[in-house]
Amino acid sequence: MKILVCISQVPDTTTKIAFTDNDTRFNEDKVQYIVNPYDEWYALVRALELKETLGGNVTIITAGNASVEAIIRKALAIGADDAVRIDMDAADAWSVAKSIADYAADKGFDLILAGKETIDYNGSEVPGMIAALLNQPYIALGSKLDVNGNTASVEVEVDGEVEIISTALPCVVSAAKGMAEQRIPNMRGIMAARTKAITVVSSAEQALVKVHKFSLPKPKSEVKLIDADQMDTLVQLLHTEAKVI
């Protein structure tokens, strides 16, 4: 079982978001980067669990310059066997997905996993694009994943119902909460990660879309405090002032 897990570097979940260069660029000053939680907690950990029961190999892949090596080492410490870094400016989903698909095309991966979205650009785009480019089935938002022989079966929450979707390998699956539980790397994993191989490949793929301006949402007005025994007042305000009921 050869599994490829796509991971992305994102700002830590507590980062205060700010912009620079006339609001055209994310301000990276003092930003702590982490592995995108959906990629790490759910996709990578499920890949490792599958390898532990079925045998095989888990490779992680990410796009970016040398600065993304810290999150690659983190993923290797959690247990991935080896890593690929596509040396490029990860400017949009297309250029990343095309570069990953080009790399994966002749490597014979049985399964490609990624988180359902990144917590920075919230696209939900890369895994579906990779699947189309490789002519493979794509199952989005999986909250459970099992592999039996040549078949992957995935549970997906759709409109409050659960669907069980199965398909023949190879395929691409995106991971949502429920697929696995977060793993904290131990000292042995961290030591082992130092010597695991990181293959660097290049890509000249160009972006199709580009952010030309960022902005911050309008700040909320001051909270209106209602006395704890005045719940009729609160309901009236929700009706007449907020107009939501």
């Binding site: 694009m129 699947a131 189309a132 480019l133 409109d159 409050g160 199709l208 909270v223 405090l225 719940m231």
Partner: protein, 325 residues
């Protein structure tokens, strides 16, 4: 230059999120002085499909040979054929399960620029610029799409559907999928939890966290939600310790929701939780700790013990409903 919108059906009608996408696509078409066509798949009558016209499209292509349930691989083929048949340059989906499953595939097949989760109509005065939420709602970004064909998914509950037309002409659209075998086998599984309002579509949501102290105290949360006709949600800690099911977890690593009213009970308001609910129109926070950070993000706040405040609020909603029905 025309616009194609994919619309999904549920219980014989077009879904609410799809109606928003139809209206959005029709408004883009009007902006560009072209026509908009809705592609409708699933079990739906011609009359119901024609109602897409009320939201601004001039034509409806009704797929005649799709299975009753949504199958992303077949819908991909259907939409590609519709795009080809009408030389569409803009393809619109809702940013729901269907849109997230199919839009990236369509974009990759057509090498079209994709913006997913749009929250406003595009600015077409200079190029084609679409606004969307980024950093989990903590910021907005304007994306320039540089390709001739463009794909957009519209964030549900962000651009309201506008009714401004009459029923549209419906053409049955044989996308010649009969011979195409889906690579997916899809079965429904019975859900263990009781029915109620669907969290992702709910306009009113009551959510609770660790401040409830014990899972047995959730009866007052459910009673409030039932009285309001609201869906229930929870914070990450209580879903992680198994007090509530995972599918109720809203926040950075669970699901993101955008209801009109979000009532948070006993949730401190960590930044990761806010990332899942900051699209809510109005936020009410009930917490006994006046220093809870959630009050800074709230419109209305109540400082008090949930076990006392929530039953009072339920009673107030009951009285309000009785007086307004």
């Amino acid at each position: 230059m025309s616009v194609i919108i994919f619309a999904e059906t549920a219980k014989g009608s077009i879904k609410k999120a799809s109606l928003e996408a139809i209206s959005y696509g029709a408004q883009i078409a009007a902006q560009l002085q072209t026509t908009a066509t809705a592609v409708v798949g699933g079990a739906i009558s011609t009359e119901e499909a024609a109602r897409a016209g009320e939201y601004g499209v001039s034509k409806v292509l009704l797929a005649t040979n799709l299975p009753g349930h949504f199958d992303p691989m077949l819908v991909e083929q259907l939409v590609l054929k519709a795009v080809d048949a009408s030389s569409a340059k803009i393809v619109v989906f809702s940013h729901d399960y269907a849109g997230r499953s199919v839009a990236p595939r369509i974009a990759a097949r057509l090498k079209a620029g994709l913006v997913s989760g749009a929250v406003a109509l595009p600015d077409t005065s200079a190029g084609f610029v679409v606004r969307k939420n980024v950093f989990s709602g903590k910021a907005l970004a304007e994306y320039q799409i540089n390709t001739e064909v463009k794909v957009i998914t519209l964030l549900p509950n962000s651009v309201p559907a506008q009714k401004n037309g009459a029923a549209a002409a419906v053409e049955s659209f044989d996308a010649a999928l009969a011979g195409v075998q889906s690579s997916l086998k899809i079965e429904k599984k019975v859900r263990e939890h009781k029915g109620g309002v669907l969290l992702t579509e709910a306009e009113l949501v009551v959510s609770a966290g660790r401040g409830m102290k014990d899972p047995s105290n959730w009866n007052i949360i459910e009673e409030l939600a039932d009285t309001m006709g609201a869906a229930t949600a929870c914070s990450r800690p209580v879903s992680d310790i198994g007090w509530r099911p995972h599918h109720e977890h809203v926040g950075q690593t669970g699901i993101a929701i955008r209801p009109n009213l979000y009532i948070a009970v006993g949730i401190s308001g960590a930044i990761q939780h806010l990332a899942g609910v900051n699209g809510s129109k109005v936020i009410v926070v009930i917490n006994k700790d006046p220093e809870a950070p959630f009050f800074k993000a709230a419109d209305y706040g109540v400082v008090g013990d949930a076990m006392e405040v929530v039953p009072r609020l339920t009673e107030a909603f009951r009285k309000f409903k009785a007086a307004n029905s």
